[in-house]
């Protein structure tokens, strides 16, 4: 923590656009009473932050977030201790909110967080307010003999409902609407979650309908341009309704779990099922290009 009450948070988690930096600032703010704008998240370079394992397995909020929470709680205790000592009271009699540390019941008896930080430093044997935390999520790898274990401390659940229209004459599949519900534990940043879901759906739709790596017999990619590696354009995206379901996780930081991977999962499956519901053919090898759907319909018409 800096003399002006701002916070430098160095995390091993890399922000790749999923919003982990924002979530960590929110969590720190929640614990420390510092506004999110005053929390500077440092990431991505082991020259100035801890080594990380990577932004994958939907783990930034859930695992990285717990380390952030623990570190913030440690810093909070340091702040309360120094103020309690100065005021000659017990730390439990102090509250910390919106940049101020005050006596419970007597809010006028207060110091700002910045003052508390400076108080801790500018005295004999003074120290900076600093904290480190590491969290190893409770999990058990599968036993080699029994196969039993618990690979993750939390599991996510989701559901997707997709409405399609199939043009039986050309095999073209139009996505009319997508509704995606996702169990995220406590939603730390609902807007961020909805954007993740939409992004994941976009990827899932591409996987389901248009994206494919085509290789020649030597293994070279033949569709190595975006004109033929077809990512859905904004015009192709249907309306996506995101539903956030919040059963509080007993272990995750503030009850939160992960979001990222689940956002894509289920999309191609739902589309395959919807195509079957609409056109009475099963197309199971994505991408379900118009040609594949058309071929399946032709085959069905021809009969056995």
């Amino acid at each position: 923590m800096n003399d002006d009450g701002s916070v430098n948070l160095a995390t091993s988690c890399t922000e790749i656009g999923s919003g982990s930096n924002t979530v960590f600032a929110q969590m720190t703010s929640e614990v420390l009473g510092v506004e999110p704008e005053k929390i500077h998240v440092v990431f991505g370079d082991t020259e100035n932050c801890p080594m990380g394992w990577g932004s994958r397995a939907s783990r930034n909020t859930a695992v990285g977030g717990m380390a952030v929470k623990l570190a913030a709680e440690d810093a909070r205790n340091q702040l309360l201790n120094v103020v309690a000592e100065k005021m000659e009271i017990h730390p439990n009699d102090l509250e910390i909110r919106k940049g101020r540390i005050y006596v419970k019941g007597t809010p006028s008896r207060a110091v700002t967080i910045a003052e508390a930080v400076r108080l801790n430093r500018y005295r004999k044997n003074g120290q900076a307010i600093m904290a480190t935390a590491h969290w190893d999520a409770p999990s058990e790898l599968a036993d080699k003999v029994t196969g039993r274990g618990n690979f993750s401390f939390a599991f996510s659940f989701g559901a997707k409902a997709i409405e399609v229209e199939v043009d039986a004459r050309t095999g073209k599949v139009e996505i009319v609407q997508v509704v995606a519900a996702q169990d995220v534990g406590l939603a730390i940043n609902p807007l961020g979650i909805k954007c993740q879901i939409e992004g994941g759906v976009h990827m899932g739709l591409g996987y389901a309908l248009t994206e494919e790596i085509m290789l020649d017999p030597t293994g070279r990619m033949v569709n190595d341009h975006l004109v033929d590696y077809k990512i859905l354009t904004p015009l192709d995206m249907p309306p996506v309704e995101s539903i956030i379901v919040e059963p509080i996780d007993p272990i995750g930081p503030f009850g939160a779990k992960g979001v990222g991977e689940m956002a894509t999962i289920g999309t191609p499956e739902a589309i395959s099922a919807a195509i079957h519901d609409a056109a009475r053919v099963w197309v199971k090898d994505p991408p379900f290009t118009p040609e594949k759907v058309w071929a399946a319909l032709q085959k069905k018409e021809e009969g056995p």
Partner: protein, 283 residues
Amino acid sequence: MENFEYFEPKTVQEAVGLLVKYKRAAKLLAGGTDLMLGMKEGFVQPRYLINLKTIKGLDKIAYSKKGGISIGSLTTWTAILSSGAILEHYPILREAASLIGGYQIRNRGTIGGNICHASPSADSAPALMVYGAQCVVSGPRRERVIPIEEIFSGAQKTSLKPGEILTGFRIPTPDPKSKGCYLKFSPRKAMDLPIVGVGALVRTSNGTFEEVKIALGAVAPTPIRARKAERFLVGKPVSDPSIRQAAEEAVNESRPITDLRASREYRLGLVRELTGQAITQSL
């Protein structure tokens, strides 16, 4: 990209002179949306690059009821979409323009570049064909005018002779009683090349087909007119069976290949389906 010498001619004659001088080592630059890709990939490595955009007057659109429309070859898709004359009199061409690429491509890509790149799937070709467009070609000898069909000589090959430059298109005013459309089939709603493209222009009278033009893209080495289908329909009653039969004729005239975008069989199926749709939508 390899280095090259760069020229900004001020007149067509100047550009022609450069082409004649540097021959195959020279390339013409219009919007660059195709050429730049080829140059970056190394497929095309001109030692001399001639920018046609610096020649004044190659991007003009002029319409008169009697003479029809003239469209300069350097006219961008955005300009075509902004043209009131094209909106009113050549909606099939406007439709084709609206389906090309995205905003950035349309702001740079030109109709002349589209035709001279001569992809079998060139989106503007079916529209130009059904409207009976003529190509105006300048070169070392006198200016010549040829029907649009004759400018294509093979996949990505034009019939332009050394030193020749396509300077524009002339399209007669369509019969006000005719109606048409361009159908582009592709997996996405933007940024795609068509798997199959169908242009149609139709005039009926008293329940009979009087005039029919059908053009197909991406089903042969060049864009083609489906002349057998056209001839079949003229004089036939406007009915589902005759439209279906015409579509069959169009299928017979198509000789698509299987490539990374689609199989031959699927393309033929699309010709059958989309030709019928295009004719129906043009009624």
